[in-house]
């Protein structure tokens, strides 16, 4: 396959970036999208041009490190992570625009690499259950009804990639945050901190510069793990309960 790539190049956080056009030839449809970029980078290196910086690590769709806006869609045209997207999803001769996640809360570090540490700070604000090592009761001490366990699991599948933020017109981190609130809130162990957790996490989310949620659902549609939109209702419910009870 031969392709035209328009890639966002930006030398550093304070530089003004721009889209740069590259022609790539002889691309195999069996390559992953990131392997196609590897090929481009090898060719740039051979020409003495600096390679395009982009993040990836596990390349099996679970670590959450990769993430690109591909022709305007977070992670591209398939419902998967960028690393699991393959070139057979594109046409020979196609022009593909490749940009970093676009959100105020995710500042650009270089080229396609962004800083998602705001997600860590949201978790630090309460996305955990306080259980010191060694203090745990036997694992069978508190049975969990299967429907709750299953819903907790679905929410816990979030990989923290940030596609929800990138896809949202408001650049809201609501789906990410709600997935954690739902995961922990469905479990008996998560109850003691449930109200304090949601209030603290929402406050941090807003302070980090994420936008508000207007229930458009683009987040859930872009999510490579299919986190359902109804986790947002759970968060809103918990937040209302918490505020009403004076948290």
């Amino acid at each position: 396959m031969n392709l035209t790539l328009k890639i966002w190049r930006q030398n550093g956080p304070r530089d003004k970036g721009s889209l740069v056009t590259y022609q790539v030839e002889d691309i195999s449809p069996d390559m992953s999208f990131l392997e196609m970029l590897d090929v481009l980078n090898e060719r740039l290196n051979a020409k003495g041009e600096e390679p395009v910086a982009f993040d990836s690590d596990c390349r099996e769709g679970i670590c959450g490190m990769c993430g690109l806006m591909i022709s305007g869609e977070a992670h591209g045209p398939e419902k998967t992570t960028t690393c699991q997207l393959h070139m057979r999803s594109f046409r020979d001769g196609e022009t593909i625009t490749i940009e970093p996640w676009r959100a105020e809360a995710f500042p650009i570090i270089r080229d396609l690499v962004v800083d998602r540490s705001a997600f860590d700070r949201i978790i630090q604000a309460g996305g955990f259950i306080s259980a010191n090592t060694g203090s745990a009761p036997d694992a069978h001490a508190a049975p969990v009804p299967k429907p709750n366990a299953d819903r907790a699991f679905v929410a816990a599948e979030c990989i923290g990639c940030g596609a929800c933020v990138a896809a949202c017109p408001n650049a809201s981190g609501m789906l990410f945050m709600s997935a954690k609130v739902t995961h922990l809130g469905e479990l008996p162990q998560g109850q003691p901190e449930r109200m304090a957790r949601v209030v603290s996490m929402v406050a941090t989310h807003d302070a980090e510069g994420f936008g508000g949620c207007t229930n458009l659902g683009e987040c859930s549609k872009a999510c490579p793990k299919g986190i359902p939109q109804d986790v947002i209702s759970t968060l809103n419910h918990d937040l209302r309960m918490a505020l009403q009870s004076g948290h």
Binding site: R59, I62, C63, N132, T133, G134, A149
Partner: protein, 670 residues
């Protein structure tokens, strides 16, 4: 028996033999009382003094994340480092199958002793009994801890935890969270860690890579790290250093490891005096998606549960290899595992399944695209299973794996047989540690896959997660306090001679890599190294091949420092520079792995020497000569152009393995 090994005293001039390791610091007494005794005898640190003691932890996977959270909770001052953008990306996240624990919730005869026994046997009797027993002993606590954190393990309708059997053992002791057990355990450890960051006990350094170990007064006292965003070379001083930086499978270039997984932290420590244990022990997993071309950047594992219903075959004739497999008649197919191993068939252990796949491909009977001179793939066929169980039942059992396969290969495995091939998955070797998980450098502790200790020559399924969390939550926090109780150590100034020298070495190395401006990219060196390792130090090793590999690696390393091209500068995010440093270390590690494989003139677990096999082609151990841990000491050698010097002749220190509680046997699969 086939045993055509050369004389055991010949070292080919590749290594020398040093003093043996007499004491691993395990306490005496019955095996089930040792850990309790050690915990009692380990000195305590008064809670008020803990905040004056600092610990650096490199890596945030299960072993590093759990240790950082636990030491933070205890009140120590922890600095946690990872090269990824957040601790939650560490490669523990990719583990699929499950985590073993001797809970005996199924009342099927499991016990701490049975888990201990299975693990020692599975490791082909090359693991240390005392450490493995402790691993089995704390396994049950891990499940309790993870459930308390909110890890959503699979549950039954009654609300209790579900178990499955795994990895060929006869009890159901594996806890799991669908096919994402590693992810869920890691997120649990990550959340515990972030809680401590919020509490101020842990300082978190992301996008930071450790590039050198600081040793002062004979103790590990800190690290030199590069801030990967700004390029700044930073100095971090502490009272103790923990390396939890994972395995080194990426020395093969293609493996199931993450792109960034590397050996740099442990190799830098090895260069500074930490012994490297059993570097040649590598696990090669049989059911991975094959290489599709030269562009391939990594390999993806599929659960080996597929072998329960899939049948493995290749064409009998080479000329059929490029045909549509559905057009190849039954009598023209070679179901080679069923043919060679009629009793175990497709369910032979991982090492055998992997090696036979290589053999049929070497004969020119592999399938799929040509990679180099050979097709590297065998069929895993579900046609019989679909005929027997129906498509719906196959889909219910394996649907997610079939989907993953279809997404990567673009083929529909319900219609066309899957193609699989073995891939490097895990490294049992690592830095040598004693019972306390302390390396041969005082104050340097090593946990998880980064150490060598618990899996011997072969790791059983669902045991890596267990070991990472055992080390991180329960073992290290109890043993490191005995060391920290001697501190705080003398204040070490960032301008002290030892510290400045370590920093200067990193700076020199970075500048050197950027100044070579040669002709070849870092990846081209990495791929060539990977090919050498895979060919000569992969599934089957021979004396001739290993000697050749050592020469090839030395030549490649020499060329690397003369001809690598790393563009860009040191003061920005520079991914080529990061890779270059990692590949430089792999180029040294690869040689040590080959030397270790050359010196071990026996087959055991994942280490198969063609010269040492039974008549059935199984691994033939030589317990009389090789029932020991090979702990290698680095010897520097002056070399032009390599900052910090080249790699001299390593020194072998043997730690004899004594089996007091388990009897040594030849593994049999009949």
């Amino acid at each position: 028996m086939t045993d055509t090994l050369s004389t055991p005293t010949d070292t080919f001039g590749k290594w020398t033999i040093g003093e043996g390791i007499a004491d691993t610091k395990a306490p005496g007494g019955p095996i089930d009382a040792k850990w309790t005794k050690r915990k009692f005898e380990a000195a305590l640190v008064n809670p008020a003094n803990r905040r004056k003691l600092s610990v650096i932890i490199v890596g945030t996977g299960l072993a590093g994340g759990a240790a950082a959270a636990t030491l933070g909770e205890a009140g120590y001052h922890v600095k946690s480092f990872c090269f990824q953008d957040t601790p939650r990306r560490a490669h523990s996240i990719a583990a699929q199958g499950g985590i073993n624990a001797a809970k005996n919730y199924k009342e099927d005869g499991d016990s701490v002793f049975r888990l201990f026994y299975d693990t020692v046997k599975g490791g082909d009797y090359r693991a240390r009994e005392t450490n493995v027993y402790r691993l089995a002993e704390v396994s049950a606590n891990i499940i309790d801890q993870c459930v308390a954190q909110g890890v959503p393990f699979a549950r039954e309708y009654g609300g209790l935890l579900d178990n499955r059997s795994f990895g060929g053992v006869q009890v159901s002791r594996t806890f799991y969270a669908r096919g994402q057990t590693g992810q869920q355990l890691l997120i649990g450890a990550y959340q515990a860690l972030e809680r401590q960051v919020a509490a101020g006990t842990v300082e978190q350094f992301v996008r930071h890579e450790m590039l050198e170990l600081i040793i002062s007064g004979g103790r590990a006292r800190g690290i030199i790290a590069r801030d990967l965003v700004t390029g700044e070379i930073e100095t971090h001083i502490a009272d103790a250093v923990v390396l939890a930086s994972g395995g080194y499978g990426n020395v093969f270039f293609l493996s199931t490891n993450a792109m960034g997984s590397n050996v740099t932290a442990t190799w830098r420590a090895h260069r500074k005096g930490a012994y490297f244990g059993n570097p040649c022990y590598t696990q090669i997993h049989p059911t991975c998606i094959p290489v599709s071309g030269d562009h391939q950047s990594k390999l993806t594992l599929m659960s080996e549960s597929l072998r329960n219903d899939g049948r493995i075959w290749v064409p009998k004739r080479r000329e059929d290899c490029d045909k549509d497999p559905r057009q190849i008649a039954e009598e023209d197919r070679d179901y080679y595992l069923e043919r060679i191993y009629p009793s175990f068939g497709n369910l032979v252990p991982r090492d055998i399944a992997s090696r036979q796949a290589k053999n049929v491909c070497d004969e020119g009977r592999g399938v799929g695209p040509m990679v180099g001179d050979f097709r590297r793939g065998v069929y895993l066929d579900f046609a019989d299973a679909i005929a027997r169980m129906g498509k719906a039942a196959v889909e219910a059992k394996y649907g997610n794996l079939f989907d993953m396969y279809a997404r990567i290969t673009g083929e529909n495995p319900y219609e066309v047989p899957m193609r699989i091939y073995p891939a490097v998955h895990y490294t049992m070797g690592g830095l040598w540690v004693d019972y306390d998980l302390q390396s041969s450098i005082p104050g340097l502790f090593v946990t998880g896959e980064a150490n060598f200790s618990d899996h011997g020559a072969n790791r059983l399924g669902a045991s890596a997660l267990m070991q990472g969390l055992a080390d991180g939550y329960f073992v290290l926090p109890n043993t490191i306090r005995d060391y920290l109780a001697k501190g705080p150590f003398d204040k070490l100034d960032v301008d002290a001679a030892d510290v400045a020298a370590a920093r200067a070495e990193v700076q020199e190395r970075t500048e050197r890599l950027l100044s070579i401006q040669g002709e070849r990219s870092v990846d081209s060196f990495h791929k060539e190294l990977g090919n050498i390792m895979w060919e000569y130090c992969g599934m089957e090793r021979t004396e001739e091949g290993l000697l050749k590999a050592i020469d090839l690696i030395r030549g490649l390393r020499e060329e690397f420092w003369r001809n690598v091209r790393v563009l860009g500068s040191a003061d920005t995010l520079n991914q080529s520079l990061e890779k270059a440093g990692r590949v430089a270390d792999f180029l040294e590690l690869g040689e040590l792995m080959c030397i270790d494989a050359l010196h071990r003139r026996e087959s055991c677990g994942g280490h198969f020497r063609a010269e040492s096999q039974t008549e059935d082609g199984e691994a033939l151990r030589h317990d009389d000569q090789f029932a020991y841990v090979a702990a290698w000491e680095f010897t520097p050698e002056a070399a032009d152009g390599i900052p910090g010097g080249g790699m001299g002749t390593p020194v072998l220190h043997k730690e004899d393995l004594t089996y007091e509680f388990i009897e040594l046997k030849q593994r049999s699969y009949k």
